[in-house]
Structures are given as structure tokens and as C-alpha cells.
Symmetry: C2
Subunit: 332 residues, 2 copies
């Protein structure tokens, strides 16, 4: 059958823009044994793809012109050559930016079709939500009374992490974001106590003033100067979850990190987080999070574009940091 897909149009050596991509039509083969033919219902656009396209993400080299752009998606099965799945089932899988795809059944994860909109399985119920949950629960071990600082707080990981810290009993949750609009989202929608715009002068002092007794948990999506500032304001025995390096997605050299003396002086506890390790908990987490949403304890915001052709412009918006909430493309 015919399918539409979006591929890299030219080598990408800087922050990706819409013109770096082009739409093309291809002929999909019929699914073979163990494969599924799916119709894409929603696509996730993620910051890490920016580095992937430049060959910077572990193991991938997906930036060559003509290459399909990578991306997790939600697909509806049209035809199944695998005993575990039937037509009509909904799955999450690496689909890429296309409207139909052949997917290996062993790489597909069934999602609960009763939890809608389906794009939530790419955000608060999906990998970003699981990242936040695993990091706050298993690594930082957030607990009653914690005072918590979250970077990239307007994003789906940070926004969920702060809310989950609160669910675990945190008494103060402060976010960091890059615009007044994002900060409004963090305070008004996610219910953080405060949001600090790191693009405004004096953000370092604002962090210090927000935590007179020190930061118990710092969630780092960024690295760089923000990590240094958070460490400087850490409480003794404060915990740091290292989750991402947004400050480095578009630089060529990996900059050095904080001097180890900072960690020693604060008796800091640092925890590297990779969500892959927690995939086994995905279904349990999704059920738990759906209940939190139903109970009004957990809120999400999506930045939605409609239709596959809208993906490149939507991705450019994400790369510019102009998205508000989890960035998705719906293909319904």
C-alpha cells in the first residue's frame, strides 16, 4: 500500500528547521511473519531527535538525507502477522514520521485504548511520564517534606516529575523554564509553587532565595550552569537526578561538568537516570497515572499539531523552545 513519510532533506549541522525535511510517498510491503501493518494515530516529537539527526544520540546515525525521521508513535493495527496482536489493537512503537508503517510485533507495546486522547500514551502516560515517575520514585526517592527544584519544568518530563514529587509529599516544588508563557503553565496548570525564568537576569539569586534551607531534590534536564547553580544551593545530602542535557543537544563538544568538590561539600547524592531500564513498569505506571489524572492529582498539557505534513514546522517550534507542553502530531 502507499504511505506518506517525512525524511531528512539535507545534512543538518545546526538546530533543525522545517526546511530540513521533505514529504515523500513510498510503497509499503505486506507484513511478513511477526510483523504488523499499522495506521499512525499520533506521533511524539522529542528534543532528543535534534541530536539524533546530527548523529549525536547513542548509537544512532539517522541524519543522512533521505532517512526517515525517527519518532515514537501510537498505531492502530490494520493487519497482524503475529499471534499476540489483532486488527484494531492499539500499540506504541518506533513508527517514525509516517502515516502507515510495518512494525515488528516484538518491538510493539500494547496501550490501553480506553485512556484517551491516544497521544497521552506518548506523554504523561508514556515514556516522559515513566521517566518522571521512575526518577522521582526509584532514584530520588522523593518523600514527605522534600523541597524540590525541577529544570525544564514546562516539558512533559519536568512537569510530571514535579507533580509526582508533590504526590510523594514534597512541600515545595519550584520549576525552571525559559519563557513567561512556560512559567505560567508550570504555576497555573502543573501547580508548582513558583517558576523561575532562566532567561531573565538574576535567576541564580531567585533559586537561592526560593530555597533558604537548601534544595533536597534537584531534577536536572539541562546540565551546564543550571546544574552548578542547583548544586551550590543544595541542602546537605541533597539528591540530584541527572536525566538530560538540554544545554548540550546542539553543541559539538561535550563540556565538562561541575568540580567534584561541589558534590563533596554538599554530601550530594547523584543518580543517573535512563528510562529504558524501567520499561517493565510501563503498564503499571500508566494505570497509576491514569488514576492520578482521574483524581485531579496529575495534570498534563499537550501542544498538538494536526496531520503528518505539520510535523516539520511543529518540530522546528519544539527546537526553538516555543512549544507549550508535550509536543505531538495527531493523524486522526
Amino acid at each position: 500500500m502507499r504511505a506518506q513519510q517525512i525524511v531528512v532533506a539535507r545534512p543538518i549541522n545546526a538546530q533543525p528547521v522545517a526546511a530540513d525535511f521533505r514529504l515523500e510517498e513510498i510503497e509499503l510491503p505486506a507484513p511478513e511473519a511477526g510483523e504488523l501493518l499499522v495506521r499512525t494515530r499520533a506521533l511524539s516529537l522529542d528534543p532528543y531527535v535534534g541530536s539524533t539527526l546530527r548523529g549525536r544520540h547513542m548509537g544512532h546515525d539517522s541524519g543522512a538525507p533521505g532517512t526517515l525521521v525517527v519518532g515514537l508513535g501510537i498505531g492502530e493495527i490494520l493487519e497482524s502477522q503475529d499471534g499476540d496482536f489483532s486488527p484494531g489493537d492499539l500499540i506504541a512503537a518506533e513508527i517514525g514520521w509516517r502515516d502507515h508503517a510495518i512494525v515488528k510485533a516484538e518491538t510493539a507495546r500494547r496501550v490501553d485504548a480506553t485512556l484517551t486522547p491516544l497521544s497521552l500514551h506518548l506523554g504523561v502516560l508514556g515514556m516522559p511520564g515513566l521517566t518522571a515517575y521512575a526518577g522521582m520514585t526509584h532514584r530520588a526517592k522523593a518523600r514527605a517534606g522534600d523541597k524540590v527544584l525541577i529544570s525544564s519544568a514546562a516539558g512533559p518530563v519536568g512537569g510530571t516529575a514535579g507533580q509526582i514529587a508533590r504526590i510523594h509529599g514534597a512541600t515545595k516544588v519550584v520549576g525552571i523554564a525559559g519563557s513567561p508563557e512556560k512559567c505560567a503553565l508550570v504555576e497555573d496548570k502543573y501547580g508548582f509553587d513558583q517558576c523561575i525564568n532562566y532567561k531573565e537576569e538574576g535567576w541564580q539569586d531567585k533559586i537561592a532565595n526560593a530555597f533558604p534551607e537548601g534544595i533536597d531534590v534537584y531534577w536536572d534536564n539541562v546540565g551546564g550552569e543550571l546544574l552548578n547553580t542547583a548544586l551550590t544551593n543544595l541542602a546537605l545530602y541533597g539528591r540530584v537526578v541527572l536525566c538530560g542535557l538540554a544545554s548540550q543537544y546542539h553543541v559539538d563538544d561535550r563540556p565538562a561538568g561541575p568540580n567534584p568538590g561541589l558534590y563533596i561539600g554538599k554530601r550530594a547524592e547523584l543518580y543517573g537516570l535512563v528510562v529504558y531500564d524501567f520499561y517493565g513498569e510501563q503498564a503499571d505506571y500508566a494505570a497509576k497515572a491514569a488514576q492520578w489524572i482521574a483524581d485531579g492529582k496529575l495534570t498534563y498539557v499537550e501542544d498538538v499539531a494536526q496531520g503528518l505534513v505539520a510535523a516539520p514546522a511543529q518540530f522546528e517550534k519544539l527546537m526553538r523552545g516555543e512549544n507549550i507542553g508535550k509536543t505531538v502530531v495527531r493523524l486522526d
Copy 2:
């Protein structure tokens, strides 16, 4: 009464040498209420004093000419103006490099006179031993099956840390040291499986080869390239105890540390360690360690000089890295 002491003779702007110090005689006042007059029985010489003398250690500024050199010591009480102590009692306290001193009773810690030589209370039974014990037990939580790498392994902290890891069930303990003599000590006396001399070519490869399945626990006394190399060879979820920064004691700028991406990729757990936090466990630890020594599970090595006048040369030797074992001066 008359006392002899060693003071800074001239400003110290580089690695300290014996000629940076001079001996002088002073008149000690009589002890007032809450004070003790002690005769020094042993003095601890420690690497951190090198940075203290250059004004680099937190809060101290003890490098001005004429200033008494700092140092923990074991003292025998000659006269007590405090109800908790009596003449003949033995204490550990900040005495400095002198043969007699007035010490505030509230800063003194009684030591067990039956555990001899008394200088052990400055090493394996004292602060270095407690550092190793607290870091391995409470921070790294060393356990059966761990494969452990220890930097500065010939020193009293590193040497004890490796042996305590073994007591906790570590199945492989590898040390890093800076000379063949030190490596012989680490292997032959402390019983490590292997010691790697970081001053020989190819030490990075030797670390990688020693840990084909990765390092479970890395004890960092050094920072710098050694920390980077250990992180590169860390097992997933490996633990790192940050205890010291020997690579930075004699540099003016605090160099940056490893890129946080290294910690993320390894899901590393980092723990800053400051021994002050564990002083409450000192007596319990000393009793436990004394039993381990009696049982042949824990060994120590001292580098002893005799007499206060020998302290400057002994300290220069320590600064040059030529000491073998815990550096002390005995005044018996």
C-alpha cells in the same frame, strides 16, 4: 611551662617543603576552666594540610608566617580543669605541631589507651579509618560480590577502604597508587588483588582490563583524569564515593569535572563524603576495627618519624608522595 612548636616560616605558594617551617619555643599559660594541659604523644601529618597552608581548605587560613601548623594529635593529660577528664587520660584533639598544648576539653575525644601504638588512633582506628568505614558502609553500601576500585590505595583511607570492602564481601579489590613501592604495599600488606601504578604508561587500559564486567564501587580520592577513567569503566548502576581531590591540592583553579552525560549513561550513583558527619560513630568504629585487626582481617602500615623536630621533613616526604602508609610523628 615552656613548649616547643613548629610554625610557618614563610608564605607558602607551592608544594610545601621542610624549609617552609621553623621550630620555636613558647610559654604556655596554665589551663583555665574547661581546658586541659596535654603532652603530645603522636601527631598526624595529612595531605589536606598542604592546601590548608595555602588557604585552600574550607574556612581555614592558616598559612600566615608565624602560625602554628595544624594537625590532629594524641595527647596525654597532665592537668585537667574539666570534670570529664583526669590526668593520665589519653585524648585525640587538634593539637598542632607542638609538644605540649592547652586544649579545650569540649574538643577532645577520649581514646582507648589499651589500643596501641597510640598513633593508630590517628590512622586505622581514627579519622582515616572512620572515613573509609563510613564511605564504604553508609555511602557506597559495599556488599557481597562487589568489584571495587580504590584510588590513593596506599594511603590510610584508601588502604582501609579496600579492606573494609572485602570484609563486606567484595570479590575483587583493585588499587591505584603512584609508585612500585606503594603498589607492593597495597598488594602485599593490604591484600588487594592488584595495584595499578598511575605513573606508568597504559594505566587506563589496565583499569579497563581489570574490570571486564565494570566497576561496581569506585572510591575517589583524586578527581581529574582518574575519575573520568573510572566512570568510563563503571558498571551500570555503579557507585562512586567522592572522598577527596588529591589532584587539586596544589592547583589554583578548581578544574571542571566529568560531563554529566557520563553519569547518565552509566546510571551512576555518586555520593559525596565528609567524615565530620560520622564522628558520632568514632568509638564504635574503633572498637570494631580493633577486633578486625585482632582477627587478621584488617592491616595497617605507618610511616613513622620520631620527635617534633622531624615533622617538617616528614611532611615534605608526604607532600612528595614518598610516604609509605599513614604518616605520623611520635613524641614518646
